[in-house]
Amino acid sequence: MTGLTARLTLSRGTFTLDVDLSVPAGTVLAVLGPNGAGKSTLLDGLVGLHRPDRGAVVLGGRDVTAVPVHSRRIALLAQDAMLFPHLSVLDNVAFAPRSAGLGRATARDRARHWLSEVDAGALADRGPAQLSGGQAQRVAVARALAGEPELLLLDEPLAALDVDAARAVRGLLRRVIRAEDRCTVLVTHDPLDALTLADHVVVLDAGRVVERGPVRDVLAAPRTAFTARIAGLNLVPGTVTGAGLRTGDGQVIAGVAAADAVAGQAGVAVFPPSAVAVFPAGDPPGGSPRNTVAATVATLEPHGPVIRLRTAGSGWAADLTPAAVAELGLEPGVPVRLAVKAAAVTVHPALD
Amino acid sequence: GHSTLTVFAAASLTESFTALEKRFEAEHTGVDVVFSFAGSSQLAQQINEGARADVFASADEANMNKVTAHLAGLPAVFATNQLTIAVAPGNPKGIRGLADLARPGLAVVVCAPQVPCGAATRKAAGTALKPVSEEQDVKAVLTKVTAGEADAGLVYRTDVRSAGEKVTGVDFPEAAQAVNRYPIAALAESAQAEAARQFTEFVLGPAGREELTRVGFGAP
């Protein structure tokens, strides 16, 4: 198989990472996971900066486990920009081409190209100390891309970028990471990046893969609380029934069972916050929403154009328009009744 | 009481004076002799800058003369030293005198003309020698010979003696023109004028004579 297959066990102090993954050529794997899950450590292991205790990294058919870092043809854009302080921005970006043996002029031409791709052409002659945080990050992106590596490892490439730059770099990445013979591993905290840039996703937690699959599948039907939270979906664990799911405390949630959900086994009910309606506490509203639950408003946070409301009690999230929030007089501590239509709820088999 | 007698002595006196110390202290209980060994010119310098010394024994009269102002009395010469040619043990190159040192291919080292032994060399040998090095002191000359680096070097008899088996000395008549005289004197500032006088006399006396002769010094 071309592309990347890796199986790595490695440790840093008391932390152990134990991961296997494969990224077909021409595709992008997103890596999600909470802080400290081992995402950066995984990239270090792939690029060869951390020696694995066990495992193998196979890239384009070559077993590169024992190959020195510089011959792996793997570029790493780390979390910290780490621009060489003694080189100009241009020469930072020209570093990889020059290391690949290109002449100074050619390498600089290529560097200029990549700099203009990240909209940093005007910064070419600056020193790294003369850049703002986001400018440095953009230059680091250009530097990683300029090497035209076989495998591209990106650790939160869009953090610190302003919206326009983020959009530009996202577009750039979409273009370059689709190259025929290249595969990419993209660490991010933003499901948006995963959705727009990646084919597959793995979710790490405490050094292990807790979820994996095609991005849309995973984000639409997350099986861990973490993924559900970042995917912005509500997730209620319980036992699959014919009509939906029964929670630990006996509550029944009506919903549509996914094809692979088997009644009597563990499952999760999944529904988007936008499907949750909020009513004043008291009588359940008449009409189609069959799942209703009493709750108390815990927090209100704008989320894109809507306000996302989280509740104590059920723990569900609901997205509302600011007008609705105002009309209902919602603020932390107000008791409410939540409702969700069964059609909006899907029930998936759970991992455990 | 217990008193300390500080003696500034030329470095070349290290061995003989250290031996004398024991005998002197045995005879004069309560006096602890302490030496400061350095180059004579350094010692003279230090005395002029206020060193608290009781006795000064110099390797030449020139340096003694620099401290005349600080002397308790007239200096007395207590030993002489004479140049000799140090060669490898058994004299493999068959060197018999100064003339042989001019032979081509022979590595000769001498003292630099600025230092006492070099001045003596000038006086004795003129400028005929073509040394490969003009050393800073006589020990450096000796080292070159014992290390086998030089075939011959002009040093003092005392140096040949202290080197033991490692060199052979070849005396030459011109050396007599450049006899080096070692003066000793008590210093005016001494708080132990009596002990200083006693030590000076001890060095000049039979005990001193004996120890100095043992390491190769000549009589004044």
Partner: protein
């Protein structure tokens, strides 16, 4: 690290190690124990270790602040001072000793004042040894620290200031700890330089057994009568120095980062 670097590195090591090996081979090791227990050697060793330790401490107490001032203060004057600090480095030690004598001797303007005021005369005392060693060793500490301070930059010090740390706290809790690895090298360099100091000591402090005759001076005195035993004593010095440095350079100084 390129493998090729091992070639010049090995040459450098050879240049350092081979002569010493040659020396050891030519030394009559059988006589070593006897020489080591000789009271003169022992007292010289003790004196050397105490004075070198004292002058290293003095170097640290005076040199660290000087390095910080030179690295952090700005202005023309500082650039000039930076060059001045190198003076003892280039002065032949004997001349350095002479300079000290001219300053602190009976006729020196400071020495005269000191004598007149307190009756203290520094030359030819153990204090003089420490002063001579400090004089020659100080630039080693200052120069190595200054380089480290400069390349470390002021980032963490600025962060500390924003956290409310006054300059003295910044110095004590940030600058100094971050300087430890470089301080380690600096201390080693200046201790070694102090330990091996000869010319300035013999000129300024003389060579009195037990008072100012340090081990290098003892080696010199020995060499007047017996070069071999002088070499043996020198080897003793080397062994002791290496031991002291190895023991006194704990982990902390080797760079915690």
């Amino acid at each position: 690290m390129p493998r090729l670097l091992w070639v010049p590195a090995a040459c450098a090591l050879a240049l350092v190690v081979l002569p010493v090996v040659g020396l050891v081979l030519r030394t009559d090791l059988a006589r070593l124990p006897e020489l080591v227990v000789a009271p003169a050697a022992l007292s010289a060793l003790e004196l050397s270790l105490t004075t070198a330790a004292m002058s290293t401490v003095t170097c640290v107490i005076l040199g660290v602040p000087l390095a910080v001032v030179l690295a952090r203060a700005r202005g023309r004057a500082v650039r000039f001072l930076r060059a001045v600090v190198l003076l003892p480095l280039v002065l032949p030690p004997v001349v350095g000793g002479l300079a000290l004598l001219y300053l602190l001797g009976r006729n020196g303007f400071l020495g005269y004042a000191l004598d007149a005021a307190t009756g203290v005369r520094l030359p030819f005392t153990t204090a003089a040894v420490v002063i001579a060693q400090t004089f020659v060793a100080m630039p080693f500490l200052v120069v190595s620290l200054e380089g480290a301070l400069r390349s470390a930059g002021t980032g963490y010090e600025r962060v500390a200031a924003t956290l409310g740390a006054r300059p003295w706290t910044v110095f004590r809790r940030v600058t100094l700890p971050l300087l430890l690895p470089a301080l380690g090298s600096g201390v080693v360099l200046s201790f070694a330089r102090a330990l091996g100091e000869f010319g300035a000591t013999i000129t300024f402090a003389g060579s009195l057994q037990g008072v100012t005759r340090t081990l290098p001076l003892e080696v010199y005195a020995q060499s007047e009568s017996d070069v071999d035993s002088a070499v043996a004593v020198a080897l003793l010095l080397v062994v002791v120095a290496i031991l002291v440095i190895a023991l006194a350079r704990p982990r902390a100084l080797e760079g915690v980062r």
